[in-house]
Each structure stands twice: as structure tokens, then as C-alpha cells.
């Protein structure tokens, strides 16, 4: 997966490239106000980041692409719907850009941002 051989040579798409597409698609999804890095040591989410390689994790699993996204959601939106939209949008954009099937997308809601309290 992510690798193709043409008569001119090979094409390899790195997980990082896929992550960048997913990152931008995520940030355009409504209700998402940021991505969160996963602190691998203790799994605690620390802060909002704008670095594309953090918050989005892409794994090639044989023929499949698995994507994991950690998002911060705007307080007051329906979190389920937002997360579902993220999965749909990311799948659409990645599949369109790469022509590769995405096997699964796990969306973790890492936190909420409160900008207004009602």
C-alpha cells in the first residue's frame, strides 16, 4: 500500500503525506477547533497543536490504510455528529487524492474548547 511501480520507477506515498491530507480535511470539518497530540508515554493529551504530523496517525496495514485522528471539538456542538463528519470528510479527501481505499478511521475526541458558555 502506498507503493506503486510504473515503467519509469516506483511511487511511494509516505504516511506523513496521507496525514497532511487528513489534517487539512479535519480542520475544515465543522465543529473541529484543533487537533491534539497523543502523548505516547501516558496517553494524556497535552495541548492543541497545528503541526500536521501530530494528532493524525497513519498506518499502512498490508493493503489497507488506517487513520487515527485526535480532535478538539467546539463546546456546544453535538460531538457524535462532528466526529462522524470528520471520519466521512477525511475518508472522502484521502480517497480522492490518493485513489486508495481507506480501511478505517478512528476519531478520538481528545477535548472540548469552550468559547462561549450559554
Amino acid at each position: 500500500m502506498g507503493q506503486e511501480t510504473t515503467s519509469l520507477g516506483g511511487i511511494h506515498i509516505s504516511p506523513g503525506a496521507v496525514a497532511t491530507i487528513a489534517y487539512h480535511a479535519t480542520l475544515q470539518s465543522y465543529g473541529v477547533v484543533g487537533l491534539a497530540p497523543k502523548n505516547i508515554a501516558d496517553g494524556i493529551v497535552k495541548s492543541i497543536t497545528r503541526e500536521p504530523s501530530r494528532g493524525v496517525f497513519v498506518r499502512y496495514n498490508g493493503e489497507d490504510i488506517d487513520i487515527e485522528i485526535h480532535i478538539i471539538v467546539e463546546y456546544g456542538t453535538r460531538i457524535n455528529s462532528v466526529a462522524e463528519s470528520v471520519a466521512n470528510t477525511v475518508r472522502y479527501h484521502v480517497e480522492k487524492a490518493l485513489g486508495l481505499k481507506v480501511n478505517k478511521i478512528d476519531v478520538h475526541v481528545a477535548g472540548l474548547r469552550v468559547s462561549n458558555t450559554d
Binding site: 487539512h24 480542520l27 465543529g31 467546539e74 455528529s81 462561549n116 450559554d118
Partner: protein, 558 residues
Amino acid sequence: MSVNTARVDKLRRRQIDGQSLKRLVEAGLAWLHTNQQIVNSLNVFPVPDGDTGTNMFLTLTSAYNEIKDSGEKHLGKMAGLVAKGALMGARGNSGVILSQLWRGFARGVQDNATLDVETLVKAFAESRDTAYKGVVRPVEGTILTVAKGIAAGTEASLGSAAKRDAIDILEIAVKSADESVKQTPELLPVLKQAGVVDSGGKGLFFILEGMLRHVYGESLDTPLASVQTLSAMNFENAMQEVEEGQDYEVVVDFFPNSGFELQSFYGRLDEMGTSIQVGEGEGMYRMHIHVPLEKRYEPIDYIMGLGTITKVAMENLLAQMDDIQKNTSQQPIKFSAVESGQIAVVVVSPGTGLSRIFASLGVAAVVEGGQTMNPSTQDILGAFEKLPTDKVIILPNNKNIIMAANQAKEVTVKQVAVVPSRTVPQGLAAMLALNPDGEVDSVAEKMTKALGMVKTGEITIATRTVEIDGVNVQEGQVIALLDGKLVASSGSVEDGCLDLLEQANAAEYELITFFYGQDMSHSEANRIADVIREKYSGQEIEVQEGGQPHYHFIISVE
């Protein structure tokens, strides 16, 4: 547009409170519903939750459900309820944004018992601000842009000298929304490529326009100005249902004179009839409408004044509907052919429609019979004796016929099992477990197990006054039976169905099928099914012709 000016003047003098807001939301919802398919057709992203019109409609429905029984007079509190309902029911991207818009709107009006111009403008601005806060990288050319356009348009109107009221602001909001929607392809290239405007923005426009149409006293049932291409016009679908009293279908092809105005055209048609469709191709327009008998020439006379008519077609829909029904019920029923060694299933069926359904499930023979006309052992025997197999399973589908079926088993030399189905839905459930190539006993056992998977409801008329199972019944009343037990008596078939489904805990199940009897018309059955659909939105509702006598409905809940 046919604006009812007297109504508008009256409304202008009234305070807009919580109850007014409720009616406005209801109108917005109705209008969005009417135009839902138009919004859906604008989707450009083939994503799974992409039916923007449906998502927005479901979200707003949830909002309306939150307030529909509320007597709240305070505008701010009512708006808060709307926002809460929208949040809880938010579906898809567009639904989430819509719920945010309501949340902002509610914040803008929260301290106001009634609506004034400044508050309304402020609320539109809050809507926009709240919506924009929900996303890091707002994409322009979407519903967000439209919310921004509405806020900008209404804010600008405050500066002008003219004295305005809330209805003026709503008019400006609708106009601004319309302009913003038209702008969306310029801002978002993907829309321009697809040749559409943004679907979410259009949905928002319809909600506001519905509110304004309510103020104007205009109809909310007929989609506006949706001109399709001629090839896209499809009248066959329109034939599925004929509204009461709208018996004639009139189709007129014409070339309009210059100055032809679509809005007023629709408005005038709307006064004449229903199921209005207008198509256009190479300058020629085709108008389709359903009108009552006495009005059948009215659309033609009207269009005569608008341009040159090239063709008129008129059809009596009732006659056509009868034909369709006759044709379907007169087609011979085709039973499954059994080969020797296979299991043949013989069922007792009370109606032609039900026989047809059984046949489609692989039944080899049908014996006519039911509650009031129990078939004899001989009848049942006759049905399977001639079949080219020795393996037979009988589904009596009525508790009074089980015995006759068992007797048929005793007198034949064939290998017979009786699966003791007591109702038609049980019989249908059993058919799904049939494996014609298996052994009679084990297959019969599987089918018997399947009987318990389904609940059976029956709706009929009481033939005498009686009290059974704690239910008091007057002669002539509609009664509902659940798995043979009397559970409710009601004044109408519709209420009977609702009572029955409640008793059956239908909300816990997945599929509700209505088999309507020979005393029910197709359209009446559909009407009742629509009522049920509204209440049981989580369940699949199906309507099938059963054709059984006496029972208005046999209902299967599974």
C-alpha cells in the same frame, strides 16, 4: 407571490413572542421538508452523510419536537428550547452548523420576552459568530457564508432611515440569504464545476423563506420555482398517490410570452391544485398539475393567457388508479414449482394479496380461507395431493384451521408436518426459515421456532357489544387484537392502529408491515401508514395489499 396584505398588517401590529417563534419554526420546517429533495440534489460530495436536505430537516425536526407541546411565552426561553432540540438532533455537518446557528440566535434573544428589530439583528449576528467559532478553517461558499450574508444584510438595514419592524428584517434576511446562496459558486470552485449552489446555504434559505411565507400567508406545500429539464420530469411517481378530490391530471406544453414570471406562475397554480411540476427545455415549458374535476379546464385557460399552448393532455386519475389496481390484482399468481424430493409448502391465506406475497416467498399452493371461512380437511388435502413431491409442510395461519391441517396429515400417505402458525404474519415469518431441500421434520422445527419472531396485530370491527380481557367494546367500534388478544377499542381505524402499536411496544422493533384488507382503499392505507410513520420514525413501515375480508389491517411487527 400572493401576499395576504391584511394578514401581514395584522401580524405587524402583534408582539412576536415564544409562541410566534414556534409557529415560525414550524413553517420553516414545513418549507424545508417540501424542498428537501431540491437541497439533496445540490450535494456535490458523495460522502455517506451527504444528504444535506435530509440532515437539516431531521435536525430542525428534532428542534421542533422539543417545542411543539410547549406553551412557553417568553421568546428567549423558547429560542433556548429550539437550540437545545437542534443540538440533540444534529445530524451531519450541515445539521451541526444549523444547531450552532440556533444556539447563537438563542443567545442573542435570551433576555427578550418579545422580539424587536435590534434584538433580531443582534441575534442574526450572534448566529454568525457562533457558527464561525465552530471551525478552525472556515470554508467560504457554504452555509457559513450565507449566515454571514444574512447578518451583514440585516445589520446594514439598521443604518437606513426607514422605520422598520421585525417582519421587514425577516424580509431582508431572506433576500440576503438568497443573494448569498447565489454567490456561493463564485467562492467555492467545486460548486461552480458541478454547476450548483451550496446545499446547506440553500437549506438555510428555505428555512427563513418558509418563515416569511408563513407571515405572508402563503402555501408551504408546493415546491417553489423548481424548474427541471423536460427529461427529468417523471409523472409515473406522481401516480402512486392521488390526493382526495384532485382527480384530474393536466399536462400543458407551451411557449411562454416574454414577461413570463415563474414565481407568480407557481403562485397561481398553487391556488388551483397540487403535485405541481414545471419543466423546461429549449424554450418550451411543460406544466403538470392535479386538479379537482370541476377545475380541470382552469390551468389551460390560465396558461392560454401566458403564451402559446402546443399540447394539452388530461387524464382522469381515479380511473387510472382503478386500472392499476385491477391489473395488479388480476395477474395470475405464480407459485413456486416443486420437484420431487423437495419440500412443498401449502398455506391457508385469507386474501389474494396475501396469497401473492406467500407465492413470492416460495409457497407451492394456497388454500383460500381464514377467520370466517375455515377450509375443510378435504380442501387442504386437495391442495397438496397433486403436487409432485411426497414432502409437505402446512401453514394454517389461523388457530381454527390447525386442527383441519392435522387431520389432513393423518389421512394422506405423504410425509406431512404442520407448522402451527396462528396468524398470517407468523406464516410469513415461518416461510423465511424454509429450506426446500431439507428434511421435513427438521425444517418444520426451524419454521416453528420462527413463529415467535413476530407479533401480529389485527384491526377489525366489533360485531357485538361485549367486555373481554378488561376492554369494553361497543358494537360497530374498531377493535385491535394483538396476538389474538383484544387490547384496545377505538373510534377509528387510525386510532386503533396507534393503540395497537403502542400495546405491542412497536418502538422496540424494526419493521412494521401493514396488510390492508378488501374494505380499505390503497390511498387510505397509505394515509394511515404516513401517520404511523410520523410517530414511529425509527421503524421501517411497509404497506402491502392483503385483500383479506373483515380485517381492515393485519399488522406484523418484527
